[in-house]
């Protein structure tokens, strides 16, 4: 327990101690909200779908959690290259504890990031439906964060160097984001796109956030959370397994 706690704490200290990085992490969400939210807003409204900002905000929050979570998992690579990982791997503790501590730390940071972006959305004019849904919203966000961190751990355990970073970014993270329903409604999509979005775990995260924040849901909140929990379990097991296989 103590090991998990101290590694969780380490992740938080890292987060709090790099204010520049926190500020920088608002860049992308802000860009999406401004360029897409306000840029496509009029078109969306003309199509009779209401305010695009209302629709987009949960998607942008989800993508924030996705990036923050997955990259904290991949941060493993950083620790590997700069040596700190070895310190934890030769310690007389089960690797599973190390992995859990890291994942919980990353997930906590990702959740905080998501909350900060929610505040940003509110400042820009987003209005959540009711405050009663806050616990549900938080739960969905934590689930997304755990899925992404564990997923990042799987990737981070398998990659040998930072060179693979852009590869993961362009072929995994961005597709997950763009094909998740974060930017467009999932109703009435062409067949292939429909299939892809249904298979993308992030779709359920975006949908869950939308369901809890503005009360509009495509799959239904219970289903969203069920799928997220199941995917989280699978990735946690995969992550723990990959992490236990790391050789230096």
């Amino acid at each position: 327990m103590k090991v998990i706690y101290i590694l969780w704490l380490r992740a938080l200290k890292h987060y709090v101690r790099s204010p520049a990085q926190i500020v920088a992490s608002f860049g992308q969400p802000l860009l999406y909200l401004l360029a897409l939210g306000f840029g496509l807003g009029p078109v969306f409204e003309k199509a009779g779908q209401g305010s695009y900002l209302q629709f987009l905000a949960p998607g942008v929050i989800a993508v924030t959690v996705l990036f923050s979570g997955a990259f904290s998992g991949i941060g493993l690579l950083w620790d590997r290259q700069f040596g700190f990982l070895k310190e934890t791997l030769v310690a007389p503790v089960p690797r599973l504890h190390v992995m859990i501590g890291r994942t919980l730390g990353g997930a906590t940071v990702a959740t905080i990031q998501g909350l900060l972006v929610l505040i940003l959305c509110v400042i820009l004019g987003f209005r959540p439906g009711s405050l009663l849904a806050t616990p549900v919203f938080l739960l969905v966000m934590v689930l997304i964060a755990v899925v992404c961190c564990a997923f990042g751990t799987v990737i981070g355990s398998r990659m040998q160097s930072m060179q693979a970073y852009p590869l993961v970014m362009n072929f995994v993270m961005l597709p997950l984001f763009f094909l998740s329903g974060a930017l467009f409604p999932l109703q009435g999509l062409p067949g292939p796109l429909q299939a892809i979005t249904t298979l993308n775990p992030l779709s359920y995260g975006v949908d869950g956030l939308r369901g809890s924040l503005i009360g509009v849901s495509h799959f239904g909140l219970t289903w969203d959370m069920g799928v997220l929990a199941a995917v989280a379990a699978v990735f946690l097991v995969l992550g723990a397994w990959s992490f236990s296989k790391i050789e230096l």
Partner: protein
């Protein structure tokens, strides 16, 4: 304390360590010397549970690292060739994290951290983040950290690489002092022959994965009819320069160097 028999490690076609056997006595300062790529680090990785041997047996304090991984891990401390501190944390936090990882009880932890940080002259700067520390200070902290959980063996893999003579000197003085006061067995590798000659009681020379000589510095010199350990080392291993493939860690080191020059 360490007993190695017919140990081998193969990576695909490449035989990194070939059938080596040696023994290190309790409380001994034992040096492992060899040119780049000779198999020193691979051997240390196997001794410290980071790699599994292809064949052969290892006993650390009577235990097999492959079977009793965590018991073995709690018995040794290690200072890696590459830095392994968390530079975003303070010096004290790095020590504390290590103490928690090794299950050192709180009271002992606080006492020993203070003792060791004072000994290694780091106490004044305990609350500063490690990223502003010099290479020598980081190294000192890593060695202090290695002693924190009162290990029976301390592995030092090229601990003085890139340090100035003052830091090297001071570092070995502390290590020797702790070796005597706490009876810690020390297993070290280095490229500085003068260090090995000064510090180590026995020296093993490894080349192309095999041990080519083993004995005190005096014995190695007598054996090769040379007057210095460096002469003995060159006589044993030849003077050809080794081609070593750069791994991702080397690339990262280069990257780090380029990066820190820029700033």
């Amino acid at each position: 304390m360490i007993k190695v028999q017919n140990l081998s490690k193969r990576f695909g076609q490449f035989q990194a360590v070939k059938d080596i056997s040696f023994e290190v006595k309790p409380g001994e300062l034992f040096a492992f010397l060899g040119p780049n790529g000779a198999g020193k680090t691979t051997t240390i990785k196997m001794l410290t549970t980071l790699l599994t041997p292809t064949s052969g047996s290892i006993l650390i304090d009577g235990l097999d690292p492959a079977k009793n991984q965590n018991e073995v891990r709690s018995r040794f401390g290690i200072v890696f060739q590459d830095p392994s501190v968390d530079t975003e944390l303070t010096a004290y936090e790095n020590m504390e994290l290590h103490g928690v990882l090794y299950g050192v009880p709180r009271k002992v932890r606080v006492e020993r951290i203070e003792l060791l940080m004072k000994l290694f002259e780091l106490w004044d700067r305990k609350d500063q983040r490690m990223k502003i520390f010099s290479g020598g200070m980081r190294r000192r902290l890593e060695i202090a950290r290695g002693f924190l959980h009162t290990p029976k063996i301390l592995f030092l893999d090229e601990p003085t690489l890139g340090l100035d003579p003052q830091s090297r000197n001071q570092l070995w003085t502390h290590v020797k002092a702790l070796n005597e006061s706490e009876q810690v067995t020390v297993f070290l590798t280095t490229h500085y022959m003068d260090e090995a000659e000064r510090v180590a009681q026995r020296i093993a020379v490894i080349d192309h994965g095999a041990i080519v000589a083993l004995g005190s510095a005096r014995e190695l010199m007598d054996q090769t009819n040379t007057s210095s350990l460096e002469g003995a080392f060159l006589a044993l291993t030849g003077s050809a320069i080794r081609e070593e493939q750069a791994g991702s860690a080397d690339q990262m080191r280069q990257f780090m160097r380029a990066w820190s020059n820029k700033r």
